[in-house]
Structures are given as structure tokens and as C-alpha cells.
């Protein structure tokens, strides 16, 4: 029973991390109607910035804040220099251009930081396991990911649902021509939204960095999951991304944790332990396929266009 609690926390933590990545993607995709494959590169840049700034400043918190700012600026610069010329083009052009950006970022990172990767060590106060219920210890750092991601979700909710900027963002998602006609500076709004998306990707990357290694191409594997999430959740919907991310995180983790035992009832032990990880990673795509059949718009689609 306690194992179930712990594995659920693992799933929740993974899901919330995916949410931070997917939230930025769904903002940009849903509101600007822009397919940004380079979102994973921004995630990678966030991690590299964090590893560099933490080493420079010798302070974990300060380094992370600097890295967050740097990714935000990078996102804005990227939008300004390259991406704003692509809004009017069709999705295929955007995919090609942003795929080029992936290659560009990977090589830029190789040039600046070298091919070996970096590590982002945690401060001592984050490496201790914390007792959350009697008998269950959970790594403090993973707990902090849960807390930060929930805070981000709450903040996004407030910004999008309760502020004027949020109102414009929502309006832009439903009808971009209309809010342009109302005299709103849609260009500036898009730049801001893109910067926000970039910062969210960077935040996901830098939060993930101490758990994983900071390395070239680290954003590519996880980006596919982020796309799956926004398809399941409904493109452009923050709420959808949040729930779908937790869904996907839970299914992935609990599948890996408990499928082998279930399969062992039917198969030999060796066959079960090899089949289970393959099956549990398929479950996510199965879920996506079912959602697409039953509700092509996703589970919680944003307001109709």
C-alpha cells in the first residue's frame, strides 16, 4: 500500500514536470497557432544555463533565477529574429524551420559547452529524503519539483483567467483577427506569449537537470511526450495540459511499476520484465489514439475558433 503511495508520487512528479514543458508548448501552439519543434531546445538551453550560472554564482537559487531570465530573453530574441516571420506560413514550413533550429541549438551547445555534457549538483538541503507519511521517504528534490510545478500551474491559471493580459491571450486564441482589429498590439502580445512559453520550457529543463544529465539533445525525447500531452488535453488549453500531463505521468510510472507483476501472472518472469516497459510506454500512445477517436479536439479543448 505504501509502495502505491510512493509510486503515485513518482508518477505525479513526472507528470507535473511534463506539464511545465507542455504548458509552454500549448500556449504557443494554441494561441499563436505555431508548431514549435524547438521547444525542446529551449528546455535544453534552460538546463545548460542553469548548470553554468550555478557554477558561476556558487548559489543554486541565484543560478536558477538567472537561468530562468536567460531562457526568457533567449525565447524573446528567438521570436524576434526568426520565428515571427513564420506565423503566416503553413505548419509544414514551421516544422521544417524549427527542426532546423533544433540542429542549430545542438551544434551551438556543442561549440560552447563541448560534447561531454554538464552536471548540476544539488545543494545539500535538497538531497535528503523527506518523510511524508510514516514509512514513506521521498527525495526532497522531487518534492520540490511537485511544489514548483503546482505553483506554476496556479500562477498560469491566475494570469490566464484573471488578468487583462490573460483575457487578451484567451481572446487571441479564439480569434486573432478580432483582437488585432480592437487595436491591441498583437505582435507584442505574441512575443510575450512566446517568451513565457520559452521560460516555462527552460524551467522544466533546469528543474530536470539535477536528476538527469545536462546534455545535447536532452529535449528531443521528452518533447514527444509533451506533444502527446497537448493532443490528449486539447490544443491551447492549459487546464487540459495539466490534467493530461498528470494522466500521462501516472500511466507511465504506474505501468512500469506494476505491469511486470501483472504480466508475471501470465508469462514467465523474464518475458514479463522485458515486455512490461515496452507495453507501459505504448499505453500512453494507446491513450492518445483512443482520445483522438472519441474526442478529436482533445479532452478539454480551448474555446472554439
Amino acid at each position: 500500500m505504501l509502495v502505491l503511495v510512493e509510486q503515485s508520487l513518482n508518477g505525479l512528479q513526472f507528470g507535473l514536470l511534463l506539464f511545465m514543458l507542455a504548458a509552454g508548448l500549448t500556449l504557443v501552439f494554441g494561441i499563436m497557432d505555431f508548431v514549435n519543434l524547438a521547444h525542446g531546445s529551449l528546455y535544453m538551453m534552460g538546463a545548460y544555463f542553469a548548470a553554468t550560472f550555478v557554477a558561476w554564482t556558487n548559489s543554486f537559487v541565484l543560478g536558477i533565477l538567472l537561468a530562468l531570465g536567460a531562457t526568457l530573453l533567449l525565447g524573446i530574441a528567438l521570436e524576434f529574429v526568426a520565428l515571427r516571420h513564420l506565423y503566416g506560413r503553413d505548419h509544414l514550413d514551421q516544422v521544417l524551420a524549427t527542426f532546423g533550429l533544433i540542429l542549430f541549438f545542438n551544434d551551438a551547445v556543442r561549440l560552447i559547452w563541448g560534447p561531454a555534457g554538464l552536471s548540476l549538483p544539488l545543494p545539500a538541503w535538497l538531497t535528503v529524503p523527506v518523510q511524508i507519511v510514516p514509512g514513506v521517504f521521498y527525495p526532497a528534490y522531487r518534492l520540490s519539483i511537485i511544489v514548483v510545478a503546482l505553483a506554476v500551474a496556479a500562477l498560469l491559471y491566475v494570469v490566464v483567467m484573471r488578468t487583462r493580459v490573460g483575457m487578451l491571450i484567451r481572446a487571441g486564441a479564439s480569434n486573432r483577427e478580432m483582437i488585432g482589429a480592437l487595436g491591441i498590439n498583437i505582435k507584442l502580445l505574441f512575443t510575450l506569449v512566446f517568451g513565457l512559453g520559452a521560460a516555462l520550457a527552460g524551467l522544466a529543463g533546469l528543474m530536470q537537470a539535477p536528476i538527469l544529465t545536462v546534455q545535447i539533445g536532452m529535449g528531443e525525447n521528452i518533447l514527444i511526450l509533451a506533444f502527446v500531452i497537448i493532443v490528449i488535453g486539447g490544443i491551447g488549453s492549459i487546464r487540459g495540459a495539466f490534467l493530461a500531463a498528470i494522466f500521462v505521468g501516472m500511466i507511465d510510472t504506474l505501468g512500469r511499476a506494476f505491469l511486470p507483476d501483472l504480466l508475471r501472472m501470465m508469462l514467465s518472469s523474464a518475458a514479463a520484465s522485458t515486455a512490461a516497459p515496452a507495453l507501459s510506454s505504448m499505453l500512453i500512445y494507446l491513450l492518445m489514439a483512443i482520445v483522438l477517436v472519441v474526442r478529436p479536439e482533445g479532452l478539454f479543448p480551448a474555446a472554439k475558433r
Binding site: 505504501l2 509502495v3 510512493e6 509510486q7 513518482n10 508518477g11 512528479q13 513526472f14 560534447p115 561531454a116 555534457g117 554538464l118 552536471s119 549538483p121 544539488l122 538531497t127 535528503v128 529524503p129 521517504f137 527525495p139 528534490y141 522531487r142 539535477p210 536528476i211 538527469l212 544529465t213 546534455q215 545535447i216 539533445g217 536532452m218 525525447n221 521528452i222 510510472t253 504506474l254 512500469r256 511499476a257 511486470p260 518472469s269 523474464a270 520484465s273 522485458t274 512490461a276 516497459p277 515496452a278 507501459s280 510506454s281
Partner: protein
């Protein structure tokens, strides 16, 4: 135009030296030079180049040309590159191969064309057993051998139970099977993770922790090993259950693993401090030539591969068309390996020692690997009798 020029040149040369098969020794080298595991490929290339430097960039009196190809860690790409090297570049030897799955995909092309293939890392069980070939040699090991040595060491330490974790692909299965084949205690659990996309091992670590096993064995090469050690330490399991590894900690991953790797034992057939003259020269010159870098076992195997090829070319005085003679010479392992004792079994997999390695701080304050003891001597892999080639 260019092609015609070369064709003309080649014809002239062929007429001038009718006895020789070609005026250069051509070697194809397939490894991973892009993506996160490019550091391994770079180390293999660096060491291969260093070996050529030491040989005066000549073999049997002929200049050597090496063509490096990137497999991107993908079996299909590796196969294509192998085909290209053999069919259009017409190489005399092909070497490299980090990944078991890439090697297995490329193997048939090399064997069918009767091109000598020297695996400088990958050692899938099939290669040692039913797929062994007169044209295929290894300068590394069979995948199971290193974890078998770890299992033997765990017996020596009196470990009663173990939880196994590894990636779900050819080498991962071989590694875990290797430990199981020698470990005398109880295997309480066995987990495979999706390779190479799964980066988070929280579910597996939670299971290991709750399994009440006395120890954990893990195999994760490259960056995944760094991630695993990070997560293992952060989850607080390091203080509770000791870890044993194969191929998880090496000179490439150590700078990223840092303190997490201290006190985690592993087995290896080559460690940088092995006390023989060839190894001293290899390690010292490597550090001199590539400042800031340290050679790894991947590099040591590539260095040996170059020397193995050299021995064969010398034996036929540079006439690489004499395949049978080259094969006979390579079977003698007539070169000085940087790992010390080295001979070949019937399946062309080395019979060699395996050492216990530990992580220590070396003279200049950097973390480094150190040989602690010899775990097994003259170890032959356990698939040798499945190989139809007999001695």
C-alpha cells in the same frame, strides 16, 4: 571528371605494382560521433588515431587511411554506413561499433563480403555463439563476461540477495543474465527500462528499495549511468543498499558523476593504471595529445584493434588479399595488448582477466579509476561452445 582522373590514376598504379592489392591500407571505422553518446565515439577515434601515430601511420610499410563514419547510435544507420564502407569505399578492415544492436544489424554485410570486422566494444552473445565468423574478431569482451565478474565478486563479498536494473535492449539483457549466471545468492527482482528514451528511474528505484534486497546491480552506459547514480543518491538509497555496476562508471562519466560514484565497485578488463609498458605509453601519450581528456576502456579497445589489424597486415607484408593468412595471424593475437594477457578463444573473443575497479582521488585531485584486485583470470565467455568454429 574527378572520377575519371582517379580511375586513370588507379589504373596506372595497378599496372606499376601488379603484385599488390592496393597501395594504402583502408580501414573503415563505425562509431557514434553525434548525439549525447558522441563522447564515446570521440574517445574511440582519439585512441585509434593515437595507435596509428605510434605505428608511424603505416602498416606493413603502407600508409593507412581511416574513414570514420557516424552511426548516430541507430542500427539502420550503422548498417547503411557499413555497406557504404564495404561496397563503395572497399575498405580492407572495418572496426569500431559501440552498440550491440548496431553491430548485429551491420554484421551480415561484413561477413557476406568477407571483410574483416573488429568489434572494439560491442559484444552481444550471438557474436560469441551462433553468429561467430572467421571474419569477425573482438578486442573487447562478450557482454556477459564483465557482469559475470561482478557476480563473482559479490559472492566473494558474501552478498545474499540482489535487485537487477538495466535497459531493455540486447546488451542490457546480456548484462543482467551475466550476473545471474555467476551470482549464487537470490535475485529478488529484475527490472528493464525503455532504452534509450527513459530517463527517469524513480519507479525502478522505489521497487528496489522496497524489495528488501541486500544489494542492487545496475548496467547503464553513458549519460544514463550518470542519471541513475544521481537519482540513486538523491532518493537516499545509497545509504541503505550498496550498488554494484558494470560499464556504468568510466573515465567519461566520472567527471559528471563525481561523489556519487565513490564507493561503487565495478569490474573491467582494462583500467588506466594497469602496470604494463604498453598501457603506460598509451595512457601518457593520450593525455599529452588530447589535453584535458583521459582515455577510457572504449579507447583502450580501439587502440588494441589498430594493433591487431597492424599485426595481420605485417604478417602478409601488406598484401591484404591473403585473407586466410591474416585470419591465422589474428587468431594468434600476436600484438601487445594494453590490458596485458590477451589471447583468442575459438570464437575470436578474447580470453582475458577481469579486474575489480574502484573510484579514488588521484595525485592531481581528480577522481579516477583504480585497479584493486583481479577477480577472474583468463576468463573465456560462456557462449564459446555454441560457436561452430572449433580450434
Amino acid at each position: 571528371m574527378k572520377k575519371a582522373f582517379w580511375l586513370a590514376g588507379a589504373t596506372v598504379l595497378a599496372l606499376a605494382q601488379p603484385a599488390s592489392a592496393g597501395d594504402t591500407i583502408k580501414i573503415g571505422f563505425v562509431s557514434t560521433f553525434s548525439g549525447p553518446t558522441a563522447v564515446i565515439g570521440n574517445d574511440m577515434r582519439n585512441s585509434f588515431e593515437l595507435a596509428l601515430d605510434h605505428l608511424g601511420r603505416k602498416m606493413g610499410g603502407k600508409p593507412v587511411e581511416v574513414i570514420y563514419e557516424d552511426d548516430g547510435q541507430k542500427p539502420d544507420v550503422g548498417k547503411q554506413k557499413t555497406e557504404k564502407l564495404i561496397q563503395s569505399d572497399k575498405v580492407d578492415f572495418i572496426a569500431g561499433y559501440i552498440w550491440s544492436n548496431v553491430l548485429l544489424a551491420s554484421l551480415k554485410t561484413a561477413v557476406d563480403s568477407k571483410t574483416f570486422l573488429i568489434s572494439a566494444n560491442a559484444g552481444p552473445s550471438q557474436l560469441a555463439g551462433e553468429l561467430c565468423s572467421p571474419y569477425v574478431f573482438s578486442t573487447s569482451w562478450q557482454n556477459d563476461q564483465t557482469p559475470q565478474a561482478v557476480g563473482t565478486y559479490m559472492n566473494q563479498k558474501g552478498v545474499k540477495s540482489v535487485f537487477l536494473i538495466g535497459p531493455n535492449y540486447a546488451a542490457g539483457k546480456d548484462m543482467l543474465a551475466g550476473v545471474k549466471s555467476t551470482f549464487k545468492g537470490q535475485v529478488v527482482g529484475e527490472e528493464y527500462t525503455v532504452w534509450p528514451s527513459q530517463l527517469d528511474f524513480s519507479a525502478e528505484l522505489t521497487k528496489a528499495k522496497n524489495s528488501k534486497a541486500e544489494s542492487i546491480f545496475v548496467f547503464y552506459p553513458g549519460a544514463a549511468g550518470v542519471q541513475f547514480l544521481n537519482q540513486y543518491a538523491q532518493a537516499g538509497i545509497k545509504a541503505q543498499i550498496p550498488l554494484y555496476t558494470a560499464f556504468t562508471i568510466d573515465e567519461l562519466s566520472l567527471p559528471l558523476q563525481k561523489e556519487n560514484a565513490l564507493g561503487v565497485p565495478g569490474a573491467q578488463q582494462w583500467v588506466n593504471d594497469l602496470p604494463n609498458a604498453e598501457n603506460k605509453k598509451f595512457v601518457e601519450d593520450y593525455r599529452k595529445k588530447y589535453t584535458g581528456l583521459r582515455p577510457t576502456f572504449y579507447g583502450a579497445q580501439s587502440y588494441d584493434a589498430a594493433n591487431l589489424i597492424n599485426s595481420a597486415v605485417i604478417a602478409v607484408k601488406g598484401d591484404t588479399s591473403k585473407k586466410d593468412e591474416m585470419k591465422a595471424e589474428m587468431e594468434k593475437a600476436n600484438f601487445k595488448s594494453v590490458r596485458g594477457p590477451f589471447k583468442y578463444g575459438n570464437n575470436h573473443i578474447p580470453i582475458q582477466n577481469f579486474y575489480l575497479q574502484d573510484v579514488v582521488k588521484d595525485a592531481d585531485g581528480q577522481l579516477s579509476l583504480k585497479t584493486v584486485a583481479t577477480i577472474v583470470k583468463d576468463d573465456q565467455d560462456r557462449f564459446a561452445d555454441k560457436c561452430p568454429m572449433k580450434k
